[in-house]
Symmetry: D2
Subunit: 178 residues, 4 copies
């Protein structure tokens, strides 16, 4: 597993779909964030990355795991614009929030994509409850690996809850504490 124990750079976006207010990583501290960077015309994103993001969104408790899409356009800028993305999100029935990565005005690579050093799309980034990048992967990642990392990180939440509230052992969404 490729991991980075670095603080996750803040998202820099021009708009958000599927949410009423802009989303910041800072405001999500305490939750795990699954960030799926994609382009709407990227075949690997459409066939693998986006369906996986949707499965994660449906499998984990939103109280602990936030799934975000990030439209990191680095080619065909003219046609992968906000209006096109809105049609795409509508037709593919995506339900999780999707942010539009901010262009820098003179280069192809948008700001968030550059800050994370992403190599392309799809890229999956998983950020822990303290805001550190725990997975950063270009291409396909197996559901087993994603699940294992999320389960490990959720265990921290449960352990934290246990310490702060002397909680009993129990199961929480997709994982269990003994």
């Amino acid at each position: 597993m490729q991991t980075h124990s670095v603080p996750a750079p803040e998202l820099r976006t021009t708009a958000w779909l599927n949410t009423d207010a802009p989303i910041s990583l800072a405001a999500l501290r305490g939750k795990i964030v699954v960030l799926h960077a994609f382009q709407m015309l990227c075949p690997g994103c459409v066939s693998h990355g986006i369906p996986q993001a949707q499965r994660i969104f449906e499998s984990f408790d939103a109280a602990h795991v936030t799934v975000l899409g990030l439209h990191t356009v680095f080619e065909h800028h003219a046609v992968m614009n906000e209006q096109a993305l809105r049609a795409f999100v509508h037709e593919y029935r995506l339900r999780f929030p999707v942010g539009i990565d901010q262009p820098d005005g003179h280069e192809d690579i948008p700001l968030t994509m550059r800050a994370y050093g992403m190599r392309g799309t799809p890229t999956l980034v998983i950020i822990d409850q303290q805001g550190f990048v725990r997975l950063h992967r270009f291409g396909q990642v197996s559901d087993l690996e994603v699940g294992a990392l999320l389960g490990a990180l959720l265990q921290q939440t449960v352990a934290g809850n246990a310490r702060s509230a002397a909680a009993d052992a129990g199961c929480d969404g997709n994982q269990c504490a003994k």
Copy 2:
């Protein structure tokens, strides 16, 4: 997630394939055990359960996660015998150990299957490091859910190691400790 915080009954088997010596859960204490109960002529086992067991076997560090097959024959006993199972395991190139659940001599349901109260095949059972059943599911289970539980349980191993040896934060196989 269907969970049972009960001690896992010991395996009762008549033979083991893919291993030099018989395997007992008692001897695996300290490791997570993924037990895949199947029948070689069960279509759902062949198409879904066994490939998932193989993926788990390939994805997790054998030092922490043990994958076991268990041939729980409850029908067509005459043809799903040990010799047939050996041919099946050979042709399907299974690499993890496979035990043969012990018939009780007069009923259809073999002893381990009965002890666990399994409803049929495939059934997936995940047993934690202390020997407790943490998942017991008949039918299909998603890789995300299996991964999440294994990640949570592995975190206990890491946490336990940390407590006993003041270990630094780090990543271990398929999960990370901060």
Copy 3:
């Protein structure tokens, strides 16, 4: 099988991709034409229809079977424009010619789509060597059914060749004449 023994209306297009010159059905008389009507943001087209068109394109002799895409935009017109389609065709590496169905200027349904009475996308139309519509189907069609119709129609070509040239029995691309 839904069949229509009606003459195939001529294609009315504003542009063609993947070909040097505009394509007309009239000029293709004597060949079988497989017409795949799609929209670039239609999930069923991307997951099923377009891959099937690509398989047909790769499986049959272009001397006898012509595969054409037709971009029949009836919604999200502003973002499924020619420039966007060019990016889509490039990213999905489509190799067969793709025409853009002609808007009528005031309604949503473009002219060719209306002339064929298509209900939506994906729609598969198969036109025989004499220019008659032999299959017209909205949604998914199995490869077995598409293959069977193409094999039957190709047999006519072979039979025709046999009559006109007293040709020997033999195999032609994907089918055989005895």
Copy 4:
């Protein structure tokens, strides 16, 4: 396409499942025969060959296309016996007739498999209405190719019917005559 314009050797079998009476190719003259040679413990047969045979069985009119399974055991003879095959056919819910290729008593390769010169399993053989082998393929064959050959052969039936009865043009199951 690999084709053989040779007469199909008669089937030599010891038993038939899913049919009341033994089946011979001679008695099927006038129909197309799709012969799927498999072994119940052959992974490629279970994952690809048998499902394709089932799709063919469900897609074409039994009045014109007969689908037959043939259990050509050339290894693990002791466990792939008739009783085991019956359990397999029951569990996988196969509906088409399945014959058991006749062992020759001292070699591994059974008689029909040897007569056809099959290299292994799965092997697909398609025999035309006059009893000639038109396709003989070891491994996977695409549905498009199978469909195209069946469509071409069915066209002969239709053409024959047309010649003998001055039949009108029309559609017959999975193909159409103009």
